[in-house]
């Protein structure tokens, strides 16, 4: 009897505490307003399709890297989950490893990523899109434009639970496209305030930003793309990007299942 009473008391306490904290938690209000609650993420590279063994095989067979320490790091990466606490501090072995690969052989790495693009997880897709920011070629604009349609969520760490809406692959593409347009001088100065989409931008506001970019792009893209260098005619040829890589990337981006929660006019 005493045990039953204790169990009931514990259950009541747990329920009360849960409701108590739900009321107190400002994020409950944020959720009501449409924000996404903060959750712990795992930053496993290629959670879909590109498993770590594929990375390891690529490193061994395609890059001919047989460094024992690097192999050990990759081996650990197969079993070690992401953790936010020191000493790992958000850095997983697999990410450290792929960054290393990206640095020693960026051309092969990007070609490999392009081939697997539609199977990469959104975080890895965002990484690939980030490589477009330094390339002056017209094809990089087209890649970013194509990726605007990818509205799948990019898992990222938001440790300060202010209002937070999920960041999407298309949001990353939007930000880089705006930056490239601004850098090239095509983007109006008055539009610069809308250059960055962050987790603190509500989805509805992002829709307005996308619509503004779409209107601008529809009107101005023919002239902009004509004036940009083309990768095919690049002299000297790019050491990282090849026309084949970009073609593959564009083709794979278009395979990404559309998540349409807003009208797109591109």
């Amino acid at each position: 009897m005493t045990v039953k009473l204790a169990i009931i008391a514990a259950l009541v306490h747990a329920l009360t505490a849960s409701a108590f904290f739900n009321i107190l938690d400002p994020r409950a209000a944020q959720l009501a307003a449409g924000a996404r609650v903060w959750t712990m993420r795992f930053n496993t590279m290629g959670a879909v399709g590109t498993d770590d063994l594929a990375v390891a095989a690529f490193v061994r067979n395609d890059l001919n890297i047989n460094d024992s320490i690097f192999t050990y790091a990759l081996g650990c990466a197969l079993h070690e989950p992401y953790t936010e606490k020191p000493p790992r501090n958000g850095i997983s072995n697999i990410f450290a490893s792929v960054v290393f690969v990206a640095r020693v052989a960026p051309d092969k790495w990007l070609a490999w990523l392009a081939h697997y693009y539609d199977k990469l997880d959104p975080r890895a897709r965002a990484t690939v899109l980030g490589t477009m920011r330094y390339t002056p070629y017209a094809e990089s604009y087209l890649v970013l434009q194509a990726a605007l349609h990818d509205l799948n969520e990019v898992p990222m760490e938001v440790t300060n639970p202010i209002p937070y809406w999920p960041l999407r692959v298309g949001d990353i593409a939007y930000s880089w496209l705006c930056h490239k347009l601004a850098e090239h001088g095509d983007w109006p100065l008055t539009y610069d305030r809308w250059n960055v989409i962050s987790p603190t931008h509500p989805i509805a506001n992002r829709d307005e930003m996308f619509a503004r970019l779409a209107a601008f792009w529809c009107t101005n893209s023919p002239g902009i793309l004509t004036n940009l260098p083309q990768l095919l005619q690049a002299t000297p040829p790019s050491t990282v990007l090849t026309p084949a890589t970009m073609d593959t990337l564009l083709e794979r981006i278009r395979r990404i299942p559309l998540v349409t929660n807003m009208p797109l006019v591109f």
């Binding site: 904290f21 009321i23 107190l24 938690d25 400002p26 994020r27 209000a29 009501a32 307003a33 930053n43 958000g90 850095i91 997983s92 990410f95 450290a96 960054v99 975080r123 890895a124 965002a126 990484t127 980030g130 920011r133 990019v154 990222m156 760490e157 938001v158 440790t159 300060n160 639970p161 202010i162 209002p163 960041l167 990353i172 930000s175 880089w176 930056h179 601004a182 850098e183 001088g185 100065l189 008055t190 610069d192 305030r193 809308w194 250059n195 960055v196 989409i197 962050s198 987790p199 603190t200 931008h201 509500p202 506001n205 992002r206 307005e208 930003m209």
Partner: protein, 316 residues
Amino acid sequence: MKLLLPSLITLAFACTQALPAEQPSVVTQTIFVVLADGENSSAAVNAYLAQAAIGRSAGTYSVTGAAGLCVVHLVTNQVGFQRALATADANIVYDGHANFGLGPSFRQASGGCRSLADFMNIGEPLVGIDWAYLCYDQGNPDFEVARTDYADDPSTPDEYADAWMYYEELPDGAVALRYATTAGTNYMRLHFRRRGFRPTRSMHVTEEPRLIRLVVHGGADDLPAQRWRRLFIKSCYSGQYFFNVFRHGTFFYSNNEVISPYPVAAFIKGIVDGLSDRALCRALNDAENAYRPIEFPMPRYAYYNSFPAKELVHDH
């Protein structure tokens, strides 16, 4: 006078040493580098200045570039930051904690802030803080909030800081949390209960990690009359916290979490190189992403010019 004369001679000699004859002698840009508690830019800034400076005296460096002769002042206290904000056409870069929008703190060496007044108050009238985080993650272990500083309703003695929370949309489309003591349309009521006691018995204990905000009276009592030209606040979510406070010149801010030690040096270099606001913002984002070999790159800084007519530098 006997003491003053040698000092003046020494100063004059130092100045001639600092500025060789062929260098421009008219200061065209003044840059203040404000390093507060939580900063991680010192090494990068010192490395840049060691390589670029043509002269130096205590805490002040001379650098020349496309912008002409630039004087860089290193500031590590509240008075210096206030002087920077009040300096006409100054370029200011701040690195340190935003302290949830309360403002900077410069008390790490003396054990951290103990009260709200210890912060440099340059925030909104009401600020939602994470008390435990300020104490144990940001180096203020003895920080307490005086009973009179709670933004609560005194008619509910057992429920403190039950202010109202609402979202404010910023000009860049992002939103920020704001707080009020009276209700408004779409406002949400907060209830922070007294959950425990610290030595004073009047302290709210926010040890439960999901209790993340305690609404207190912040304010901008320490904000001087602003005369600066460009201001970059390198703190997490500085846009959300300080957008309304710094509606003056061109405000460079973050609407995300930032961690790189490089953007402060990039800001100094950008000013010296005579970059436009747009180009400067890109340089800040490049510097932030240069430190992010692990996470995917994305722009985290934006800028807003409250006086677009003052954009005098041609875009690069």
